[in-house]
Subunit: 248 residues, 2 copies
């Protein structure tokens, strides 16, 4: 059995010293990778640079990435080299990447110029895209802090999880859905919608409010509904090993 | 001798799962704290949660913080409880904190409404502040990714380093200035300006392009110019111990 596990959280650069980071320690993903290794599987791990990672061995390899783009490259490379029985995508992936950064002054100047040049015209998505594309070039590697406000425009990143089933339709894909302080019904509904959208076989639904240290309530859903649940990180790892034993 | 060392980098929340993070591993600050402890000093450390931290002992205490606000609270508490011979402020502090987040749709709607209500009026800093203050309330703990762009307005944070000399005018303050890929002349000029502004006695000037693992070129400046330089992280730590021996 060969498994691919992604873990940690991606970081999208704003400049050379600042990033937008998705919080994820990598603890759960590390436990999952180690549990599969101990069950006899060969495990490839794609981990974010700052995450806790499992120890490498002859049966466990780790590739390190920083942002969503590097994740998609690493995923593609792994999935072209190996056939995976399952892909467990526990990494918290940034939905947005930095498109443009303005100082308050740059933003106001460009906005006022746009309205002067386009009288009585409302700003719509198309004109906003043109507006952003025409930002005057400023050569800065680290943003100056000589402004009272920064205006960041972030752009949606392609959903990396969507690549997985198109690269290997037969792999068993486990997605993760983390919400914050929602009802169980809402959590399951959103998790199921995300499972369908990414063509995942399973989705691990969890809520940040029921995660604290080792305590971690996770529900494993497939097309029939909840198939298993666990209340600690090690128990979630073991639950995945147990459920995925039968996929071959 | 009692020393306060800040280390790591602050993180400003965007929502419950995302932050804007200042990269800083805490490695150099940890070496500095340990070097002072070994030289016989009592060391208080304020470290960011994700940073590498020195081991605690009877002579070394660590307080953990996340964002700029928590840093200023911790600093104030420490400086009211103890008198410090020196404060070594190596933490990378966010210059900006999240003020408002818009989806593309929310942003365009509000911007068009503003221009309808204020015909022929340019958007200036004052009206932008009113604009941001009047953002319609949306109850979200985690930003929805159902939008192609996010628009983030970030607000400048108060400079924490400015507090230090006003709390303890007699302490020896060491600031840090990190730039990216600039000439030595520019680095020294910017570092000296920042030293003066924060009333620091010394500033450690360094450039990200000459930092790689243990290699780390650092110049120590005071009002007379460069007083010492070092080329590795442990050497920078030792340089600070040597230079600050004479302050009492």
């Amino acid at each position: 059995m060969r498994i691919l596990v992604t873990l940690g959280g991606t970081s999208e650069k704003i400049d050379d010293v600042r990033s937008i980071t998705n919080h994820a320690t990598g603890t759960l993903g590390t436990l999952i990778a180690s549990a599969f290794e101990q069950s006899g599987a060969t495990v490839d791990v794609i981990a974010s640079a700052s995450a806790i990672k499992p120890n490498e061995s002859s049966k466990l390899h780790v590739t390190t990435i920083h942002d969503t783009y590097e994740l998609s490259q690493a995923l593609e490379r792994c999935m072209k080299e190996h056939v995976y029985d399952a892909v467990i995508h526990s990494m918290a992936v940034s939905d947005f990447t930095t498109e443009t950064v303005y100082s308050e002054e740059q933003f106001l100047t460009q906005m006022n110029q746009w309205h002067l040049a386009h009288p009585n015209q409302t700003l719509d998505k198309e004109s906003l895209a043109t507006f952003l594309a025409n930002k005057p070039e400023v050569n800065e590697t680290k943003l100056s802090s000589n402004t009272n406000h920064l205006v960041l425009f972030l752009q949606k990143t392609p959903k990396v999880i969507q690549m997985i089933k198109s690269l290997q339709p037969k792999t068993c894909l486990v997605g993760f859905k983390l919400l914050v302080d929602v009802s169980k019904d809402d959590l399951f509904a959103v998790a199921e919608a995300s499972r369908k959208k990414s063509q995942a076989d399973f989705v691990l639904a969890n809520d940040l409010t029921s995660i604290a240290g080792n305590d971690h309530i996770g529900y494993l859903l497939n097309e029939h509904g909840i198939v298993a649940q666990a209340e600690t990180k090690p128990a979630i790892a073991q639950m995945l090993v147990d459920q995925l034993k039968h996929i071959n």
